[in-house]
Amino acid sequence: MLDPHQILLAVPLLPVLGALLCALFGSVKQLKSWSHVPAVLCAALSCACAFGVVAQLQQSGLPATFPGGDSDRIVWFGMDYAKARLVVEFGLSADHLAGIMLIGVTFIGFWIVVFSIGYMKGSPGFARYFAVVSLFLASMNLLILADNMILMFAGWEGVGLCSYLLVGYWHHKHSAAAAARKAFLVTRLGDVGLILGILLLWFMTGREGFDYARMFSNVPALAENNPVLFPLSCLMIVLGAVGKSAQFPLYVWLPDAMEGPTPVSALIHAATMVTAGVYLLARCTPLMLVVPGVQLTVAIIGAFTALLAAFIALTQHDLKRVLAYSTVSQIGFMFLAVGCAGPALPKIAVVAAIFHLFTHAFFKAVLFLSSGSVMHAMHDVIDMREFSGLRKVLPVTHIAFLCGALALAGIPLFSGFWSKDMVLEAALEAGHSERFGTIYMILFGVALTTALMTAFYTFRAYFRTFWGPLRMPDGAHPHETWVMNLPLIVLAIGAIVVGIAVEPFNQLFSGFLSKAPFLAATPSPEHHLNWPLILGSSAVALIGVGIAYFMYVKQPASAAKAAAAAGSWYAFSLNKLYVDEIFKVLFVQPMNLLAGISSLVDAVVSDLTRLIASIPRAMAVTIKPIQNGLVQFYALAMVVGVTAFIGYLVLFAK
């Protein structure tokens, strides 16, 4: 049996190897079209290793670590002097939370890589794509498996980098390059908060090390000793999560990030990277539990973002934009759930968030992949006004999209329903707590409204794309290849059954996750199905689907009439509430001004330097004509010099 420590190391390391091999293949002309092979193989192997890690976890119940057992710690970098000590180690640790995340990331990542083979065929930079995707998988795995915060931050930055590279994949396209920059810079704002929070925590825990075990030991005493700094550091960490997970106000990059290839959107902006924030908050639950104010902030941010994004998604015409805002909204749900830990039992709240994250990964991935398939067939047109009635020509895509849509809308018995239900339950329980109970109740109401809106816009998109008369834009040639169909089918099956298979009838998921060391100590809830809530949320979802059906299938003209009647609300929603424009005026333009002034000063300085540098040249140009190559001129110069000298000596010198 392979050493579990080695298997653990293989999970992030194999995709790195895959990335290197893809890059290598890409630089050799004959191997260029085979560049996908290392990526696929390494993703598959990494997935297998992840399953192995989880199996071993299930068996032994103890987290796997690398370097395991009694081996020496590996130091990544650091300085260790008397007064200053900063040492960062390289160590991996997989507990149950990490195991679940790993399965989600590697499994979905693998199928998306397979999908990409068909989607990206024939585009230039084929090898570059697979190399960066493999690098992304490696970074994400590192983020999940890191056992100290700096290493986690390294993975955090790695996924940010790969997101930038992949969103800007078609870098010659101006909008794509701008979107990549925007993504990177906006998440950067969050990263500043994150690193500040990490360093504050390190400082408060005595500057010894960054590992989670140390950070989370003796938290109550920590909070008591640092009444100001501790909540501040937690808030900073929340800021980091807000940036990476695209919550208000740092969500503006996610819709623009749809400029990248659709598998990228599926992988990074639906299933994995944006969930890193939620993972971080879940991981930092021991810290958050002692600062209920910060928890409330998280919940408010989550709920508000969910509502806001759903509102904007109601009117968007671009299919991928709808799905992007939907992602923002669903992650808002996850934030709401995490924010309820404290008032509600952590075992419910955190499990709800992670469960929703897990199912969301599946159904959002399948939704994005099918939209990618649609886009591929419609020759890169994704505006829903350009096509309709595609169920006749893209059958597999249609079924996959339907499965995903059912899950997203929260229709009973599909995976999204159970996870959304858990989130609502957590919010409801938090609403019953003494402190902030009312606010949580309000948030519960907001979440319910958002669920209605979610169902509506999801099926609006579905009906507009796949129902109605068959209309396609020019140049479209609908076809479906097996390499693109297979992942769709697998993920669609996942979207349907993953929910019901593990919750709520057999507690597989929550049982597994509750064994995680940071949750194991908290009190366990009693499991019961909250029937009123189940019925209520099912009704909400079905009402949403019904309204969409009515407006887009039964009476297609009513959509336009409703939009006209809504008037300014419609305009607000269509224009994304003008948030981009507000940010532009508030932040972007002052920065541009500052950059302009700096470049002006720079130009002045460089011009000044050039001026000074040109003086010797000017002097030389004046003197150059003396060297005209004529022998007699040179002799004349000598004679004139001698004459002047002798003339002075004889005629003037006393």
Binding site: P625, Q627, N628, G629, L630, V631, Q632, A635, V639
Partner: protein, 139 residues
């Protein structure tokens, strides 16, 4: 009486005239002759000093001057022949290749005065009968 300074003055005059010739004339031959003229002035100086001092060192040095001038003449004339082969002219202004790169060649801008073309002598027509002539008489 004619003493040292008179000879020195003549030596100086010859030297300066040679100097001006060297600086001004563009024909390689005349340039070199001017250089030799300078050497003559110097030799005159040496011989005058030799007479004034009463020893023969000055005359010996003037002999060396002659020797060196001879060597110089030999090599210079060989080089002139080589230069002539390259450019078919003895003008020193043609050799400007060692000027600053980027500088334009110095050319003569002022044209020479045009010599009035001489009227060709009138050709008279043949008078009388031409005697018989063979071709090879025109050799």
């Amino acid at each position: 009486m004619i003493s040292l300074p008179h000879y020195l003055a003549i030596g100086a005059i010859l030297f300066v005239l040679g100097l001006i010739g060297f600086l001004t004339r563009r024909n390689l031959i005349v340039m070199f002759l001017s250089a030799e003229l300078m050497l003559q002035g110097v030799a005159l100086n040496f011989v005058a000093f030799s007479r004034a001092h009463g020893n023969l060192h000055g005359q010996v040095f003037a002999l060396f001057i002659i020797a060196v001038a001879a060597c110089e003449a030999g090599i210079a004339l060989a080089m002139f022949l080589m230069l002539y082969r390259k450019k078919r002219s003895l003008d020193i202004s043609l050799w400007q290749a060692l000027r600053e790169p980027g500088l334009e060649e110095t050319r003569d801008t002022v044209p020479l005065p045009v010599e009035p073309k001489e009227e060709p002598l009138p050709v008279l027509s043949v008078s009388g009968v031409e005697p018989a002539r063979k071709e090879r008489d025109y050799a």
